[in-house]
Symmetry: C2
Subunit: 198 residues, 2 copies
DNA sequence: CGAGAAGCGTAATCATGATTACGGTTGCGA
DNA sequence: TCGCAACCGTAATCATGATTACGCTTCTCG
C-alpha cells in the first residue's frame, strides 16, 4: 500500500539522480533537475532527504548496501576458496567500475565537506575488506595461499584486481569495462595472487 | 625584468589556487578567493588565464610537466634497470599521491566538462607509461624480466605500485604517504614484479 | 618629466541553483 | 461524501560566484 508506492517513488527519484549525475556530474546536477526528471516536486525531495547532501548520502548508502549484499551472497555459496575468489573478483569489478559507483565517487571528490567520501570509504572498502580477508584466510587454511598479514594480502589482491582503474574511470578516461573484461581481469588477479603468495 | 616578475606573479597565483583547492575543493574555490589570497586582481586572472577552467588547465599542465621532468631525470641517470625502477617507484608515488596531484584529480572529477580529466590522463598516465615501458624493456633485455606485452607489464607494475591509493586519496580517506612509505611500497612493487615476471 | 600600459581593489552584472512558499489535486480513512 | 495530509507544479527567496567594468596607482618607455 502506502509503503510500496513510497519506495517506488524513492527509487524513481534516485534513478533520476543517477541519470543526471552520470550525465552532468555532481556540480551540474540540481535538485530541481532531479525533481523535474522524476516528476516529483522540490518539496517532496526536501521533505524526504533534508537537503542535497542528504539525497546523495542516501544514494551512497543504498549502493554500498547492494555491493555488500552481492558479495556476501557469493561468500555464502560456500564453495572452495579459489572458486569464491574467482567469483568475487569480476563481481567486485563491475560494481566498483560501474556507472553508478563512478558517479558516486565523482560526487565524493567534488564534495567539499568530505562527508560523502568518508561514507563511501566506510561503507565501501572498509566493509568489503573483511569479506576478502575471510576468503583469503579460508584459502590459507586449505594451503592454497601463504601469508602472515591477512590485511596486507587482501590489499595486494585489491591492487591486482582493481589497480588504478577507479581513478581513471572517475577522471573520465576509461570506459566502463565489459563483463568479459571483468572476468579476465578477475582471473588474472587470482593467478597472480597465487603466484605471489602460493 | 618584466618576464621575471610576471613569472613570479603567476607562481604566487597558482600557489594560492592550490592552497584554496587543497582546503576547499574545486567547487569551493572561487576566482575571487584566489585573487584575494594572491593579492592579485580579478582582472589579471582573467586576462592571463581566460577563465576559471583556463587557470586549472594551466595548473594541470605545469604539474604534469614537473612529474615528467623528474621521471625523465631518473631515467637519464642511466643506471641498471632494476635500480632505475627502484628509484622511479617512490618518486612516482609521492608525485601521484601528493597534495597537489590529489587536488587536481579532485578538480578533474568535479569538472563536468571532463576536459581536465582528459588533460590529466593525457599529460599524466599517457606520457608516463612510455617511460615505464622503456625501463621494463631494458630490464627484459638484461634478462631480469620476461614478458610479451610491454604495455601490460607496465600496467601490472603500476597496479602493484599505485593500486587504489589514488582514488582513496581523492575521496579523502587516505592521508598523504610519508617518504618512507613511498620507498617501502616502491620496493615491494619491484619485488613482486620480479616475482611475477622473473 | 609625461603618456600609456598593466595591475590593483572594489563594486557592479548575471546566472545558476539551493531552499522555501503557496495554491490546486488527489487518494484515503472517518 | 467530507476533510486532511501528502504531493505536484510553479514561482518566489537568497547566496554564491563567474565574469565584467571602472577609477586609481605604479611602473616603463620615450
Amino acid at each position: 500500500m502506502k509503503d510500496d508506492s513510497r519506495t517506488d517513488r524513492q527509487q524513481q527519484i534516485e534513478e533520476a539522480a543517477y541519470a543526471l549525475l552520470e550525465q552532468k556530474g555532481y556540480a551540474g546536477t540540481s535538485m530541481q533537475g532531479i525533481a523535474r526528471l522524476a516528476r516529483a516536486s522540490n518539496e517532496t525531495l526536501y521533505s524526504w532527504y533534508g537537503d542535497k547532501q542528504g539525497l546523495f548520502r542516501a544514494l551512497v548508502i543504498r549502493n554500498t548496501a547492494e555491493v555488500r549484499a552481492q558479495l556476501e551472497a557469493d561468500l555464502a555459496a560456500d564453495r572452495p576458496p579459489r572458486d569464491t575468489l574467482t567469483a568475487l573478483g569480476p563481481r567486485l569489478l563491475s560494481l566498483l567500475l560501474g556507472d553508478r559507483a563512478v558517479a558516486l565517487n565523482r560526487s565524493a571528490a567534488a564534495d567539499p565537506s568530505g562527508e560523502l567520501g568518508a561514507l563511501i570509504a566506510q561503507s565501501g572498502r572498509d566493509s568489503v575488506m573483511p569479506l576478502i580477508v575471510q576468503v583469503l584466510e579460508a584459502a590459507r587454511a586449505e594451503g592454497l595461499l601463504r601469508f602472515d598479514d591477512a590485511g596486507a594480502a587482501a590489499g595486494l589482491y585489491l591492487d591486482l584486481l582493481v589497480g588504478d582503474q577507479q581513478i581513471r574511470r572517475v577522471i573520465g578516461r576509461l570506459p566502463a569495462p565489459s563483463e568479459a573484461a571483468c572476468q579476465a581481469r578477475g582471473a588474472a588477479a587470482v593467478t597472480h595472487l597465487c603466484h605471489l603468495l602460493g
